[in-house]
């Protein structure tokens, strides 16, 4: 007989009811998802990135579909922190699930100031730091520099008692070094990964397709890349990982968990299967029950990779 598995997830100080989250920028401010999602089935909602001041965003076209992927350059279009707190937070905090605010600043001071404001509000379970947006000037700098990334986390931690997740960019030579730095800086978890920088070309017009020329690639096309980043960091850094990148079915979820993610975020799939995230927790529950697993944590990081193939610095058992 199938057991009832424990789906709770602990990302250090952040406890979530289940490991299926939805990624920032792919779930609006949740209100837009009301018709399609069952919020109580989602481990945490992460609304669209908030910046200190309103941002108009990048000129269209802002997205273009590529083979099994989506290239976007939205440019953090949002109405700013004050508007987020006044207009969106009152709705978000009533949702029957955890809400994690995703924030981005131009410099460390801005991150710090935003953390202070959010710390004084009610209804948030945590803060995710977007130090990895490839589509705005300054946005990706923090995530490519381990010292700067650690500094942002440390200073944000000094201003809020909320759990802090650092969302990292994969557009670096060594993502392990960045993950290590933010772990040392006090991050409760890392989200791996934001989008991969890319461009789309209209060769007939000799022009880029996106208004901003470059964009970030997401969707099933990047899943093996994201999975690799998760696995590398899981092997070498002692910090909970939230895996994100092209997840579009239960098998994808389980692959990320086995590779070392404690939780996952559904991103681009929300665009073309808005009910997916709400369904996945039921599917996961059923699958773990059939496997006879007591707790979802029991399968996290169970990948049996040959020691020779594992990244240097840690041997797997």
């Amino acid at each position: 007989m199938a057991r009832v598995p424990d789906l709770n997830v602990d990302l250090n100080r952040l406890r979530l009811a289940n490991p299926i989250l939805v990624a920032s920028g792919t779930f609006g401010y949740a209100r837009e998802m009301e018709a399609f999602a069952r919020f109580e089935n989602i481990g945490a909602v992460i609304p669209k990135t908030v910046t200190p001041q309103p941002r108009i965003g990048n000129p269209p076209p802002r997205t273009v579909e590529t083979t099994s992927g989506l290239l976007n350059s939205i440019g953090l279009d949002n109405d700013g922190l004050d508007s987020f707190v006044e207009k969106h937070l009152p709705y978000l905090k009533e949702l029957p699930t955890a809400v994690i605010a995703n924030i981005a600043g131009h410099d460390v001071d801005e991150f710090e100031a935003m953390a202070s404001v959010l710390d004084s509000t009610e209804g948030l379970a945590g803060i995710e730091l977007n130090i990895s947006c490839p589509n705005v000037s300054g946005g990706v700098d923090f995530g490519t520099n381990p010292q700067l990334a650690a500094e942002v986390v440390k200073r944000v931690r000094g201003r809020t008692s909320l759990p802090v997740i650092a969302k990292l960019t994969p557009n670096v030579t060594d993502i392990v070094a960045v993950a290590m730095a933010v772990a040392d800086g006090g991050a409760d978890a890392v989200s791996l990964v934001n989008t991969y920088q890319g461009i789309a070309v209209d060769w007939r017009k000799r022009k880029p397709v996106l208004g901003n020329v470059t964009g970030g690639l997401s969707g099933p096309a990047i899943k093996p890349l994201a999975l690799c980043a998760v696995w590398k960091v899981a092997c070498q850094v002692d910090i909970p990982i939230v895996g994100v990148g092209g997840i579009s079915c239960l098998d994808d979820v389980l692959e990320f968990l086995v590779a070392g993610a404690s939780a996952v975020q559904i991103g681009t799939a929300n665009f073309y299967d808005p009910g997916l995230a709400s369904r996945l927790v039921d599917e996961l529950d059923g699958c773990l029950g059939e496997l006879g697993v007591d707790s979802v944590g029991d399968i996290v990081g169970t990948l049996e990779s040959a020691p020779a193939a594992a990244p240097a610095g840690k041997t797997t058992t």
Binding site: A35, I56, P61, F271, Y272
Partner: protein, 293 residues
């Protein structure tokens, strides 16, 4: 305008849903142009003219995203209950090239209804100006305006109806004219233009609109859908005559319901500035004077 149209997100549809729909039939309408009929009673019951839905192949990841299609008309069963939707499409890209092969019995993903739709028909002389596949939303507009059919759940009121109804329809050439038979109905005047003169007026569809302003009764409201330069020209003519005009935009979309922020268009603000706004949840139908072309 009704209350929903005044909310900040008039195109956010709380009753939308994601469903599996069965292909009922596929009919060639014109060159590279087809009409698909999908069985989806829930959506058909709710949708109003000018609203759209997203359609996607089931499974697979290439093509990855759904594509937006405007309602052509709802399909009722013998008892008059809505059971499905018709929509038109032109074969232009990856998904539409594959849609041609969809057969009755195939199942697809659909989510909607989405967007705000055209307002309920005004009185006076309503002129619909369409370019290419932009004629799509105007069959349902016509049927509602003529009192032939009701849309929405509960069926929306049409306290006023146009005394005169005209469709100005422009296409590249005669072989691209789609659905002329459908639009042949008592109470609707159809005027056609083609770029090559193979049918109707040889020239722009906006010439037909200009003609109408020299006749009686003059247009008192204009709905337009088609290529943006055409809609911009229509809006200009409408403005010259102080005639209210609504334009249905077709901006590229990834989701159709407000979460991706791809489909933005420039909307004029009260202070003279403009801001990008999502076509899917604030439109796709806008008052022409809101648009910063």
């Amino acid at each position: 305008m009704d209350a929903a149209a005044q909310s900040p997100l008039p195109g956010l549809v709380p009753a939308a849903s994601q469903q599996t729909a069965c292909v009922i039939e596929q009919v060639r309408m014109a060159r590279d142009t087809y009409r698909l009929r999908l069985e989806c009673p829930e959506l058909a019951r709710q949708i109003v003219p000018g609203q759209f839905f997203m359609v996607r192949e089931q499974g697979g990841s290439d093509p990855l995203l759904g594509r937006p299609f405007a309602l052509y008309d709802i399909v009722n069963n013998d008892d008059g209950d809505p059971i499905g939707v018709d929509f038109g499409y032109v074969v232009v890209g990856k998904l539409t090239s594959r849609m041609v092969d969809w057969q009755p019995g195939d199942t697809v993903d659909i989510w909607g209804p989405l967007g705000n739709g055209f307002p309920a028909p005004p009185d006076g002389h309503l002129v619909m100006v369409a370019g290419g596949i932009g004629q799509t939303p105007f069959l349902a507009v016509t049927r509602e305006a003529l009192g032939q059919r009701q849309y929405g759940d509960p069926p929306r009121d049409t306290p006023t109806r146009p005394g005169t109804l005209t469709l100005c329809y422009g296409a590249r050439s005669e072989e691209y004219l789609a659905g002329i038979d459908d639009f042949t109905t008592d109470g609707l005047q159809v005027r056609v233009s083609t770029d090559d003169g193979s049918h109707g007026h040889h020239g722009l569809v906006t010439d037909l609109l200009k003609d109408l302003f020299r006749e009686s009764p003059e247009p008192t409201a204009i709905y337009t859908c088609g290529p943006e330069p055409m809609m911009e020209a229509v809006a200009e003519i409408a403005a010259e005559h102080n005639t209210p005009c609504w334009a249905s935009l077709e901006t590229p979309m990834a989701c159709g319901f407000g979460i991706c922020f791809s489909c933005v268009t420039r909307i004029r603000l009260d202070d003279g500035q403009w801001d990008y706004r999502r076509t899917c949840v604030e439109g796709p139908v806008f008052r022409a004077e809101q648009l910063q072309w």
